[in-house]
């Protein structure tokens, strides 16, 4: 069932209170982030429709926004999403090698999920960590100065978390 807990509903209310009366559409981006986190790491049509109902919006208004921003996943992703930056400054510092290494290690291509549903590999554009390259986004944080050893350790860490 796609329903927020009472606590999450209070959070939604709190967010709406940040904007002028009648401007609750402004809460759409933050609420979509919450929904994605709560309901499996991606936004299904059902999830988006639920958010539309909460904010008194037409479903289409939600789809339109969700499809514009790259952080919203409109398809299911693995439990652990690895998003490696590939823009110039990271490329100079070896992001291509890191991407190749992950592909090889997990035996998937960019954009794919491992058959066990654990990992998805994505490439992304500059995340504002160019001085700490190569880097990736993992969950709510960044992993920086990546090396093959750090990738090995991260993948182990994820597997352990899953047991």
């Amino acid at each position: 069932m796609i329903v927020f807990s009472d606590q999450k509903l209070m959070e939604v209310k709190e967010i709406i209170s940040h904007y002028p009366d009648g401007k609750q559409k402004s809460a759409l981006l933050p609420v979509l982030h919450m929904a994605q986190e709560e309901f499996g790491g991606w936004l299904s049509v059902e999830t988006m429709d639920y958010v539309a109902g909460l904010l008194h919006l037409e479903p289409i208004e939600v789809y339109e926004v969700a499809s514009f921003y790259s952080m919203y996943n409109l398809k299911p992703v693995g439990k652990h999403l690895l998003e490696v930056c590939q823009t110039g400054p990271c490329m100079i510092n070896g992001s291509d090698d890191i991407i190749d290494y992950i592909k090889q290690k997990l035996n998937i291509q960019v954009g794919e999920t491992t058959p066990d549903g654990l990992f998805t590999l994505k490439t992304v554009e500059c995340l504002g960590a160019c001085g700490y390259a190569p880097m990736m986004q993992y969950g709510k944080t960044y992993r920086e100065h990546l090396t093959k050893e750090k990738i090995d350790a991260l993948i182990e860490e994820c597997k352990v978390k899953n047991n």
Binding site: H18, Y19, P20, K23, K25, S26, A27, L28, L29, P30, L32, H33, E64, V65, F68, Y69, S70, M71, Y72, Q86, T87, G88, P89, M91, I92, N93, V124, E125, C126, L127, G128, A129, C130, G131, Y132, A133, Q137, K140, T141, Y142
Partner: protein
């Protein structure tokens, strides 16, 4: 040593917390500002010569004086913390390690502008930094620096953070306001400008994080004192985020009188280029500004030492100069391939185009494809001219400056490194294995010991 303002206390243990920040003199500018008139604060900011640190360098005091004040309609300050221009990571540093600095600057600026509810629009990926800011805001509120009737002045102010969700275009101020309203980040046609009709059609000032932070020392020490730091129209200090092939990547606060050479080679800043390699090129102000070959980077076409400031970096226009931009300083050593680097930037802009205007939507896609073609050894000579032609057709023909931002890097790469593009075309196999030597560009550059 450069005089530090924003980063002066960054190494004080615990400076992230309210108690330490306050003990080190934090929030003094709010105490002072609330005894002044809002117009007097605007006047100090004008006197300081502060220019917007988000990229365009527009004078902040002047921008503030444009805000419309229609009766009965609330006004808003919105801080631009979208920071997505490749090479730029300075705002993040300030917010992550000394978050109260921004909050302090925002309270003073909100008072000057008459904003009772101000927002920080932060890029969605900076999720943990949003938590840090929320924490700082809660602390400030608990201590009475936010909320109703601050310090008994009668001024009310709330600050809220709002996370984006992955879109470079939302750094453009009108796209940012659309996004804050819960819409797609499509830039608006100007006029009306945000100062007249901004978020929810209300008068709004959008300023960069670093700009708003700089208001703190301006109020503490006075606009005139601030204006005496630096040179010409480049007053105060500037945060530079340095990356690429340098020994010490990171964020540096500079006084804008130092030379580019000193910035790259001195131990105080970038610490030179790793493994004794030679400097090939540099993008001095974020991915949108023109790339310069080593010789034009270190000295202007007139033969003067180039300095790290607005005027000097743009000396020579686009023919032989570049721009200060956002302060994202990307260094390329002799091993780097300019064609490949430019290709990654073109891919970035194609990915980030909002798609509203056809020259930008189609042009960025074509540029990416052609650069990929040349880079992978399949290019023809006429592709180089086609690339030049496409970038010219984008520039100036779009709703927002992202079109220009996509065109300039390509134009500059061809302008200064055309022989490298031609070499790729002429050596389709070789170019996959090795890079075009730099000897050609920087033989005459003396690498300081």
């Amino acid at each position: 040593m450069t005089k530090k303002l924003l980063l002066e206390k960054i190494d004080v243990p615990g400076i992230k917390t309210y108690d330490v920040y306050r003990r080190e003199g934090g929030y003094r500018s709010v105490e002072k500002a609330l005894t002044m008139k809002p117009e007097e604060i605007v006047e100090e900011v004008k006197k300081s010569g502060l220019r917007g640190r988000g990229g365009a360098g527009f004078p902040t005091g002047l921008k503030w004086s444009f805000i419309a004040k229609p009766e009965g309609i609330p006004r808003h300050l919105v801080v631009n913390a979208d920071e997505s221009e490749p090479g730029t990571f300075k705002d993040r540093y300030l917010m992550e390690f000394i978050p109260h600095y921004l909050i302090e600057g925002m309270i003073v600026s909100s008072f000057a502008l008459g904003s009772n509810v101000s927002y920080i629009y932060i890029r969605g990926e900076y999720a943990w930094i949003t938590d840090i800011l929320d924490q700082a805001i809660a602390e400030a509120k608990q201590q009475g620096w936010l909320g109703k009737n601050i310090l008994g002045s009668g001024f009310d102010c709330e600050i809220y953070t709002q996370r984006g969700a992955g879109a470079y275009i939302c750094g453009e101020e009108t796209a940012l306001l659309e996004s804050l309203e819960g819409n797609r980040g499509n830039p608006r046609i100007k006029p009306p400008f945000p100062a007249v009709k901004g978020v929810w059609q209300r008068p709004t000032v959008v300023n960069n994080v670093e700009t708003i932070a700089a208001v703190v020392p301006i109020i503490n020490d006075g606009g005139e004192a601030y204006s005496k730091i630096g040179i010409g129209k480049s007053t105060g200090t500037k945060l530079i985020s340095a990356c690429g092939n340098i020994n010490k990547p990171g964020v540096y606060e500079i006084d804008m009188t130092i030379s580019v050479e000193e910035f790259i080679y001195s131990e105080e800043y970038c610490g030179g280029i790793p493994h004794g390699k030679r400097l090939k090129a540099c993008i001095p102000g974020g991915s949108s500004v023109p790339i310069l070959p080593a010789n034009l980077l270190l000295t202007t076409a007139k033969g003067e030492k180039r300095l790290m400031n607005y005027e000097s970096l743009s000396d020579g226009g686009f023919a032989t100069g570049s721009m200060m931009g956002s302060g994202g300083f990307i260094v390329l050593d002799e091993d780097q391939c300019v064609v490949r680097h430019t290709y990654t930037l073109a891919r970035f802009y194609r990915h980030e185009s909002c798609g509203q205007c056809s020259p930008c939507r189609e042009g960025t896609g074509w540029m990416e494809k052609i650069l990929k073609k040349i880079e992978s050894g399949n290019g023809e000579m006429k592709d180089i001219d086609l690339l030049w032609d496409i970038q010219r057709k984008i520039e100036g023909n779009t709703i927002c400056p992202l079109g220009d931002a996509a065109a300039w890097p390509v134009a500059a790469a061809i302008r200064h490194f055309r022989d490298e593009f031609e070499w790729h075309v002429n050596n389709p196999e070789l170019c996959l294995q090795q890079n075009y030597g730099l000897a050609h560009y920087a033989d005459d550059i003396q690498v300081p010991a």
